[in-house]
């Protein structure tokens, strides 16, 4: 057992042709599942009801035993280990959380440490530490689960699963029973936590949006327990492996793809900026080189003031004659989908992009966004073709598709 919480290293997880066939059933619930989850990553099992995603997850801690094939945890077969010992070292979070109603929050969190025979003082300080980690007041340890809200119970469930700092966590629709607003908050909190803890996580959900948000990799399972595709979210959205995946990720997958990127990730348009009183000749020259043929009037701090009208350039020096306000102003760290939404809301084809201190760095246009989607698609397809062992086939050729 690691003495210092938060210090145990994550372990890789590997499914090797893992199959579950229930007695009396002719179709396997999980059919020859093979995939690797690198240490410290979140792998999401997603798919419709009956696709075997929960079964696949429960095979890891032997809540369900494998019929054939194997699952390796840190290189060791789970079959070699006693189920109880195995489970005590795997965090387990389920949708209904399953807190013990007759035990206080502190006792609930201490479940596995008690099983492992930790000393009282160590358990007590670990409980406080975990409550803080999940953002709950330490006084809450004396309460009973029935006295907590759904969101608080969910946090306690996560704290309980992390109690002995297991290298691997299994999470079965952990946010499924939470209202959308709190779910979003808990997802974000959990991602922050994971950035710190770096556990190897198997996360089960039926919600493709949640899968895209939470997963480093996504395993899409289809009915019959067959793996349809195993890929990072971006790849899943740009290049679905088959019609099932395409259908499952939804017709709006290009838009979902935008949710994965920030404005800074794509090629922005160059924009000619100018200040009031500046020589118009210089501005005209810059305008010829810029992607956008309308100059942007900025202040001394290079903060956008508005799009300059033709009349502003008629004299020798720039006059502050605006054709339209510089709206919407987009930030480099904005999610691309949100930025596109802003553009659409203002009925604008482009908007100035500013950095964290408000200086203009370029412009985001709808064309730039659609170009980025096309590029991403070409990249993924190109990568796929390189994999298919045709060295002369340059990925650039596929760009024409977009």
């Amino acid at each position: 057992m690691p003495d210092q919480p938060g210090r145990s290293s994550a372990e890789p997880l590997e499914f090797r042709d893992a199959t579950k066939l229930y007695p009396g059933s002719s179709e396997p619930a999980v059919d020859g599942l093979s995939l690797e989850v690198p240490a410290g990553e979140i792998c999401v099992f997603v798919g419709p009801s009956g696709c075997g995603k929960t079964t696949a997850m429960r095979m890891v801690n032997r809540m369900i035993d494998i019929t054939s094939g194997d699952i390796l945890l840190g290189g060791r077969s789970v079959k070699e280990r006693k189920p109880e010992d195995l489970r005590r070292n795997i965090g387990y979070v389920i949708q209904q959380i399953g807190l013990f109603p007759h035990r206080t929050i502190g006792e609930n969190i201490a479940t596995v440490p008690v099983l492992l025979g930790w000393e009282k003082a160590r358990i007590s300080s670990r409980v406080d530490e975990l409550l803080e980690l999940v953002g709950l007041p330490t006084e809450m340890r004396k309460r009973y689960p029935g006295q907590l809200s759904g969101g608080q119970r969910q946090r306690v469930g996560v704290a309980r699963a992390l109690a002995v700092d297991p290298p691997v966590m299994l999470m079965d629709e952990p946010f499924g029973a939470i209202d959308p607003i709190n779910r979003e908050r808990l997802q974000n909190e959990f991602l922050r936590l994971q950035a710190e803890l770096r556990k190897t996580i198997v996360f089960v959900t039926h919600d493709i949006d949640e899968a895209i948000k939470m997963g480093d990799r996504i395993a899409v399972l289809q009915v019959g327990g067959k793996l349809a595709q195993y890929a990072p979210p971006a790849e899943l959205l740009t290049a679905p492996a088959n019609a099932f995946v395409e259908d499952f990720v939804g017709a709006d997958r290009a838009l979902k793809r935008l949710a994965l990127q920030r404005v800074r990730d794509i090629d922005l348009w160059t924009v000619a900026t100018c200040r009031t009183g500046e020589q118009t000749n210089g501005v005209r020259e810059r305008l010829a080189d810029a992607d956008l043929d309308i100059p942007l009037l900025v202040d001394a701090e290079r903060r956008p003031l508005g799009w300059l009208s033709e009349r502003g350039l008629t004299g020798e020096r720039v006059r502050s004659e605006l054709r339209s306000p510089a709206e919407p102003i987009v930030e480099l760290d904005d999610i691309l989908r949100d930025a596109l939404s802003d553009l659409l809301a203002r009925e604008s084809m482009y908007g100035p992009v500013v950095d964290a201190s408000g200086h203009v760095v370029g412009a985001l246009s709808i064309q730039a966004i659609s170009h980025a989607i096309g590029n991403a698609r070409a990249e993924v397809l190109g990568a796929a073709e390189r994999v298919s062992a045709d060295p002369e086939h340059e990925p650039a050729e596929t760009v024409e598709e977009s």
Binding site: R87, G98, H102, R103, T104, L115
Partner: protein
Amino acid sequence: MSLIAQSGGFLRDRTGDSGCPSNNGICLGWMVDHLDRYWSPFLEHVVITLIPLTIGFAIALSMGLLAHRQKWLITPLTGFTSAIYTIPSISSFLLLLPITGRGNDTAIIALTAYTLVIIFRNVITGLAGVPQHAVDAARGMGLTNRQLLFRIELPLALPEIIAGLRIAAATTVGLAAFAYLAGAGGLGANIDADIDFRGNVLVCGVILTLLAATLDFIVLSIQRLLTPWRRAAA
């Protein structure tokens, strides 16, 4: 029937009384003066109530735990205990007499048998009512079956189990009033000895009611003590 006849002589004794008892009335003065003659039957009644409850609880709980592990046993055990329960108490006392003879043993055996169905059913219901997700989480965290039973399932089934014990207690207090038919003691003999005398019947009734209420209160207090989470959550 010689025992009843003998004790009936003492129990029926109304010498030194004024007119009220001879009219079979409700005689408060007489009741107060003669409470002592109910003391030892009362103690006997307590004994033939508590012993069957204790033994019955132990047997029914064991049966319940067994059936919880081996689900197929639930139906036959429920059937068996229910069948016992349908035998009228008076006939069961009389049926047991040739086998176990007159005395407390017979009464205790019969009364124990009657508690089984009530407690057994509540043990089964209680264990079945434990939230499935708590059981799943417990197993998923690596509790062994034994730890699961004693740390999670039994504590959570406790309110239901104790509810069964309360019903069994009240029922046994009442049924034990027939135990005198098997030659055991208890307040039943006092009632039977002078059943026309309303004062006598009333005293016995009040004592039995108080006994049942006290037992209920004690069991309920134990439950409240053991299940602090139920009050906290409310």
